[in-house]
């Protein structure tokens, strides 16, 4: 589980995240939403221990800054918004990077590392691309390989920054369904940032609305995705319609 208290992050002297509190229970999927510049990505990176921050971030009861890096890498896996695609690297080798925290200095990957990666590639239906170069894959295939690398870390917590931002709606749904299935199968805890509000609401156990670096609303999709909240913080006129899996947000012309 993740417990964040009074998280503050400064980038180049600007306060980007300004006192965020949030909790993610084991096995829960929490979606962080908010307008551009609200500090979603920055907060996520700080929670992953990748940015210096004040306040406290505890992961499974341990302060993140006190976790040795390798231990941290086997506890939390992060998929960035636009992960770098190393030139000419094959899918198998990319996914094997996820085993880095298990490989001792000067050592090489063991049969167990290879087996773990092959299992993950099979599970995400990208094993047939194992010998392909990552850069030759389509956006949706790539996103699954990024996920494979993160899952190969064997961590119980996944931090996903805009996991569907580069995808069409068909592939968005496919990737989110996949994450939901993996979450159930592997008992993963997921904290993700999302732009698409309706979709975020459909998959989230709980949502957190961030604006100007602070939490302005939190709770179920129905509690957070209200016309008042969105009008105030996104400066947009929307109609919220009750859908099968949660509220559907439709922008309307003002």
């Amino acid at each position: 589980m993740i417990r964040v208290r009074d998280l503050r992050v400064r980038l180049d002297g600007n306060l980007i995240v300004d006192g965020v509190d949030l909790e993610v229970a084991d096995g829960e999927w929490v979606m962080v939403i908010g307008p551009n510049g609200a500090g979603k990505s920055t907060a996520l990176r700080a929670i992953g221990g990748l940015l210096p921050a004040t306040g406290s971030v505890e992961v499974n009861g341990v302060p993140i800054e006190r976790m040795p890096r390798r231990k941290r890498a086997t506890t939390i896996a992060t998929v960035a918004q636009n992960p770098a695609v190393p030139p000419a690297m094959r899918v198998l080798d990319y996914a094997l990077l996820g085993r880095t925290p298990y490989i001792p200095p000067l050592g090489r990957e063991s049969a167990a590392d290879l087996a773990a990666v092959e299992e993950v590639l099979e599970s995400l239906d990208v094993a047939r691309f194992a010998s392909r170069r990552l850069e030759t894959l389509s956006g949706g295939e790539r996103q699954r390989v990024f996920l494979a690398r993160a899952l190969a870390q064997g961590a119980g917590i996944l931090l996903l920054d805009e996991p569907t931002s580069a995808l069409d709606i068909g592939h968005q749904q496919e990737v989110l369904e996949l994450i939901d299935r993996l979450r159930a199968e592997r008992g993963l805890t997921v904290l993700a940032t999302m732009h698409d509000l309706s979709t975020a609401g459909e998959y989230a156990d709980r949502m957190v609305l961030l604006a100007e670096g602070a939490v302005v609303a939190a709770g179920t999709a129905r509690e957070v995705l209200t016309e008042e909240n969105l009008a105030k913080h996104y400066r947009v006129r929307v109609r919220v319609i009750e859908g099968e899996h949660g509220p559907l947000v439709v922008p309307v012309r003002g």
């Binding site: 890498a73 080798d93 990077l97 880095t100 200095p105 090489r108 990957e109 010998s131």
Partner: protein, 364 residues
């Protein structure tokens, strides 16, 4: 565009992870042995390659075989040619390794061993020693003043230190881009100093140029013994970071999320590669091309993993330079051709061929 045959999409179980393949390693060792025997056999006096190979075996303690070479020929072999060929192997291996390390650290395919000011610093040091020495004259290629290697080494390390200090100007983190820019600034500054000295002492231009173009003319085993410890330390440090360099290709933040200390690896690699380059430059002058072309050739032929690029660069870089030196001292008749001219003249077309062949073929 070549269309990939269906057979290349295989299930994960049959694909081997990236790394050094035994075949390539064997190829590198064979290349070094060929360069060694060829470098020893050919020259102003040609020796039978078989006899040379037997004499090489005789260097192994406890081995005494009859090679058929005269005592004088054995002396030419062990006292004149062997140190020079070994120096070529060491310098070539070091430059190629340092170049590969820089390319990985800075994630920049154009990075070469002289990137952070090593060349300019060494150049200024050497120009100063040659120019400011009281006007002695002589054969420019053979009699460089004794202070030259020391001046080159000191100048090179001072330049890197200066780049390092300036690199902090953009923040304590010293991003790759800031360091490269600092290297450009330091190089220009030192090159200006060198040009000024050269203008003031035109009588020594020939000697300075002979050094700038690179040379492996040695005074026996002395230079080899100077370079050897640096080569060993540099190779040990850089090769120990080969997997880290692969992880660094995804960027610092992701490397950090995978459990590495990207900054620590980067500093370690920069220090080791700079030290090795400075040592190589101090005995051989500025030999360009090896540090940039050899690693790229290895990347195109044997794949993008630094776990294979680094060790193969050492072997093939060494073999390449030793063979280039063979050409430098035999192709031009009496006068030696500067080795930097040979490396570029033969290396560039070769690289173009490799580049064309690999395009679309899909390196593994």
């Amino acid at each position: 565009m070549t269309v990939r045959p269906a057979g290349t999409t295989r299930p994960a179980g049959t694909v081997r992870p990236a790394g050094l393949r035994a075949g390539w390693l064997a190829g590198g060792v064979v290349a070094v042995l060929i360069a060694l025997v060829a470098g020893l056999a050919f020259g102003s006096v040609s020796l039978p390659p078989a006899g040379v190979a037997i004499e090489l075996l005789n260097l192994i303690p406890g081995v005494h075989l009859h090679s058929g070479l005269t005592e004088r020929e054995v002396a030419i072999l062990t006292e004149l040619r062997l140190p020079r060929v070994v120096l070529g192997l060491l310098v070539g291996g070091l430059l190629a390794l340092a170049g590969a390390a820089y390319q990985g650290v800075f994630r920049n395919p154009l990075a070469d061993p002289h990137l952070l000011g090593v060349a300019a610093g060494a150049g200024l040091g050497v120009t100063a020693v040659i120019s400011l020495r009281a006007g002695t004259s002589g054969d420019a290629t053979a009699n460089l003043p004794v202070g030259v290697p020391v001046a080159a080494f000191a100048g090179a390390l001072l330049a890197v230190a200066l780049t390092w200090l300036l690199g902090a100007a953009g923040g304590r983190d010293r991003s790759p881009a800031t360091l490269i820019l600092a290297g450009v600034a330091v190089s220009s500054f030192l090159a200006a100093g060198q040009t000024y000295l050269m203008q003031q002492h035109v009588d020594t231009l020939r000697e300075v140029y002979s050094w700038l173009l690179g040379r492996l003319a040695t005074a026996g085993w002395h230079d080899v013994l100077i370079v050897l410890p640096y080569a060993v330390v540099t190779a040990a440090i850089v090769l120990s970071q080969r997997r880290e360099l692969d992880v660094l290709t995804v960027g610092d933040e992701e490397a950090s999320s995978l459990g590495l200390h990207p900054q620590r690896s980067r500093y370690l690699l920069i220090v080791a590669a700079s030290l090795g380059t400075a040592a190589a430059v101090s005995v051989s002058g500025l030999i360009g091309f090896v540090g940039i072309i050899v690693p790229h050739t290895m990347r195109l032929l044997a794949g993008p993993s630094y776990r294979s690029i680094l060790p193969l660069s050492v072997l093939f870089g060494g073999a390449f330079l030793a063979l280039a030196d063979l050409l430098a001292r035999t192709a031009g008749g009496q006068a030696e051709i500067p080795i930097g001219v040979v490396t570029a003249f033969f290396g560039a077309p070769f690289f173009i061929v490799v580049l064309r062949r690999s395009r679309g073929a899909g390196t593994p």
